[in-house]
């Protein structure tokens, strides 16, 4: 029996094992080599894999992603780190126009992974706390994953590296060293398939659909509801593109009441897309309007009182769930 490890260590292990398994895998990013990364995800990698495979770059996110694309066209499997995922905005064009469209345009797959710390709850302020997923979910040709557990963090980074298409891997920095989600992981090699949601908790009365760090709040809310005699189901999407439409349809048909919870802001957040999908696939099974708890339409604030107000939490989820249950 192994030791329980953190979410960050799971990402680290996944990267390490893939680099050992496949010589084509290499990493590039800012401060990832000598320094070991701003969050130490790549600590010790330079010593193990050398500077040809652990490449410190200038501060040039578009350059980093562009170079990853070029290397992938040559048959390599690059993993590009964004020091904070907020900086992925600087590489938007390379990702959405070069990487995402190459296979469709002329048949060249771009098997790259772009990973980095996303999300709030650590007083990072407006430029170190963002959830940029929907810019990329809106881009055909990309895949977007957002693990919320330690097991998934490892399984999804391995799946992302082995995938034939460009994958945006959003790791949640609030979860990095959170003791509560430490897990003992299997000894053997495993992946978590991209495009498959996970049922974290089975229930009959209401479905909480969520991903990333928000699944903790949903699990807490579900535990509280249980004490009130209400059986809540929690569906962790894990992959945002492609969405697991079958799992969303199934839980909707089962409970008839759906509350979607995400940390991303409201307008254009994935809750809107899921709601439309439910309308298309399971409208007649609904026993109330699809509700959503999200961050409000504002930048992520810095100070504690502001950020605590801004982010979804278990209390907000619980309140919305009770309202929906009494509809």
């Amino acid at each position: 029996m192994g030791e329980a490890i953190t979410y960050l260590e799971a990402i680290r292990q996944g990267l390490w094992e893939e680099m050992e398994r496949d010589d084509r895998v290499f990493m590039l990013g800012e401060d990832i080599g000598v320094y070991g990364g701003a969050f130490k995800v790549t600590k010790g990698f330079l010593e193990k894999f050398g500077q040809d495979r652990i490449i410190d770059t200038p501060i040039a996110e578009s350059g980093i992603v562009g170079a990853a694309i070029g290397a992938s066209l040559m048959g390599m499997r690059p993993v590009a780190e964004m020091q904070f995922i907020d900086f992925i905005a600087c590489a938007f064009n390379q990702i959405t126009n070069f990487a995402a469209k190459s296979r469709w345009r002329y048949g060249a797959g771009v098997p790259i992974v772009i990973r980095g710390p996303s999300g709030g709850g650590v007083r990072g302020g407006p430029f170190h706390s963002q959830n940029p997923e929907m810019y990329y979910v809106h881009t055909p040709g990309l895949k977007v994953v957002a693990p919320g557990t330690t097991y998934d963090a490892k399984g999804l980074i391995k799946a992302a590296i082995r995938d034939e298409d460009p994958v945006i891997y959003l790791e949640h920095k609030y979860l990095y060293r959170l003791p509560r989600i430490k897990e003992v992981l299997p000894e053997e090699d495993y992946i978590v398939p991209i495009g498959k949601a996970a049922l974290r908790r089975e229930g009959r009365d209401i479905s909480l659909i969520t991903y990333g760090a928000m699944q903790l709040h949903c699990m807490d809310a579900a535990a509280s509801l249980e004490k009130e005699g209400i059986s809540a189901e929690v569906l962790d999407l894990r992959t945002l593109l492609p969405l697991d439409a079958d799992a969303i349809e199934a839980t909707t048909k089962k409970t008839g009441k759906v509350l979607i919870v995400h940390e991303d802001t409201r307008t254009g957040g994935i809750a809107g897309e899921i709601t439309a999908l439910i309308n298309e696939r399971a409208f007649e099974y609904l026993d109330g309007p699809v509700r959503r708890i999200t961050s409000p339409d504002a930048p992520v604030p810095y100070s504690a009182p502001l950020e605590d107000y801004f982010l979804p939490n278990a209390t907000k989820v619980l309140q919305a769930a009770r309202e929906l249950l009494s509809y």
Binding site: P58, S62, A67, G70, A71, L73, W104, R105, P140
Partner: protein
Amino acid sequence: MPRTSRSAVKKQTKRGKPAGDSHSRRPADSLPASAQTPAQLLDFYYYLKLNRMVEERLSALYRQGKVQGGLYSSKGQEGISVGSAFALAPQDVLAPMIRNLGAMLVRGVKPVEFFLQYMQKEGSPCKGRDTSLHFGGIDRGFVPPISHLGTLIPVLSGVALAGRMLGKNLVALTYVGDGATSTGDFHEGLALASVKRLPLVVIIENNRWAYSTPVAAQSLLSDLADKARAYGIPQGVVDGNDVLAVHEATARAVDLARRGQGPVLLEAKTMRMRGHSEHDDASYVPEEEKQFWEKRDPILLYEKHLLSSEAASQADLSRIESECAARIDADLAIAEAAGGPRPESCVEDVYAPTQGAVERPGEETLRLVRRS
């Protein structure tokens, strides 16, 4: 890229020239200045003419409504495409921009592919999904551009990086316009390539106009190649309308890059002799500027050189022109006969197949190319 060498050799044989020393196989770094053989000098001419005549035919097709959307001419810039592409070795990778049709021809792309592509046929290299020169995979020695300028410089840095990791001894070469030297990607790509000493050659095609914006409104520099100083990398300026000068300068740049002294930034000074795209009459270009450059047409200059140096006779030049015309007629006939794409195919190939093999874009084109 054996395809390139084969086509060049075949070309010579077809014209009755000895295929003897297979110059096009010789790595660029072993090419001393002005070492072109008589056969190679005529090869340059063949591709210059083919480049221009394919584009003239495309322009005619545009007027007939058979080519739609944007059509970009490289008239006046053919010497850059042809001279630089001939400086590459088979293992090298070239990323063309929209005015580098000639470079693609030199490296083995057939006229039929441009016709299929621009005429939106099912068998086009992009299956009708994308246009212009946006095709040609790494297996043929190309990275196709996207329309966002400057983006190829980071991407080709990655090609050069991977080439080094894989021990391929390759040089990556791409082009950028005077306008796109203002983009962030131009600088990010050079920043990365310079500190990693990547085997990359970037040719700035300074054609004086970025759409309607003159180069003076783009930069205060007299020579855009001076941007290399910001990265501490070798630079050069060359007359872009002199195909031999471009070839020589590119060969030197490629040599430096291959020896690990790159990246290299080369500026080829030229003039865009037509509008930005076919719809653009370029009325913003002063008349005297047009007249000045018309006298400096790269094909005209090269013909004069060939005749005055007695490297070719007028009969040689006429014969080559006829060869180009015959080739274009034959290739266009294939493209004209090809069908249009299936409408529903626009949603295919967005992702890798999850099971089984499906035909990739470009495979039908290769079949048509083999037939041509």
